[in-house]
Symmetry: C2
Subunit: 145 residues, 2 copies
DNA sequence: CGGGATCCGTAAAGATACTG
DNA sequence: CAGTATCTTTACGGATCCCG
């Protein structure tokens, strides 16, 4: 069922080889669910910011809370628990008074950090272009009305 | 398939000095909100899967709907609109009967695709380790009860 | 076929108060 | 200080109907 596009200029920079279809959700649907759960956990709003913050070394709970603007203590706790559960973050409790809890990235977490860092860099460097695209889109919507 | 993410932007294992705090959300809080909105849009559950599907070339609406298991037509429409608004996806309407709409990644979208692909690869290759960590964590919870 | 509009249930996020 | 528990609120997502 070859469907070609009748458009004028299709960049098509990516070479789509017939045999190579890596990571197709349709053909390995068993793994897909797990992958999706991993992606959902590792790429959600707060996880990215937490991993980013921990990328520069261990931090205490209150330090993270202050570093990540707008996060509630509940979301910080929940997200840290999930990251710990996935083996991305190590939690160290020092039972003093007052208690002290430090969080740090595991080796696995550090490998994830390089990816989130790349994501952050991408967002930073492409911010003007994205904002321009948004403005154009919204302007076109207004014009069509 | 040219998945080079490390060329210029990906920092490999930055040295973690105590004083240096690059990309801190606290010190550039104006940009932080925009970056967060970009990250929220580009890393949410469906966007990643759509970008991944479009990474192998243009697709129609119904193709995407079949390719992405579990997505509703509403979420597909909404997410595609948002991606289009951010300049990541190009929407081409062919006003035939029945109508035909094709979606493809823009150049900006392709640069994002390399990142999501890297994320997917990371999730795939680290899946066993993550599942093991989850099992360990859950087992420890049961033991503590 | 590719949506838009509407209604609605649920689950996640926020705010607040309390505790070891 | 680092959570837990509870309540409220939000918006996410699905189902349905409709139209060009």
């Amino acid at each position: 069922m070859d469907v070609r596009v009748s458009d004028t200029t299709l960049p098509q920079k990516l070479s789509v080889k017939p045999g190579t279809t890596p990571l197709d959700c349709a053909q390995d649907s068993s793994a897909c669910a797990v992958i999706r759960s991993i992606l959902a956990r590792t790429t959600d709003k707060w996880s990215i910011l937490i991993v980013k913050s921990l990328g520069r070394g261990p931090h205490r709970f209150s330090e993270l809370r202050r570093a990540i603007d707008g996060i509630s203590q509940r979301m910080l706790t929940l997200t840290l628990r999930n990251l710990e559960r996935d083996g991305l973050v190590l939690r160290t409790v020092t039972p003093t008074t007052p208690p002290r809890v430090d969080y740090e990235l595991t080796t696995l977490g550090e490998s994830l950090w390089t990816l989130t860092e790349a994501f952050g860099q991408w967002a930073m460097s492409n911010r003007p272009e994205i904002e321009a695209a948004r403005a154009r889109f919204d302007a076109r919507l207004d014009a069509d009305l």
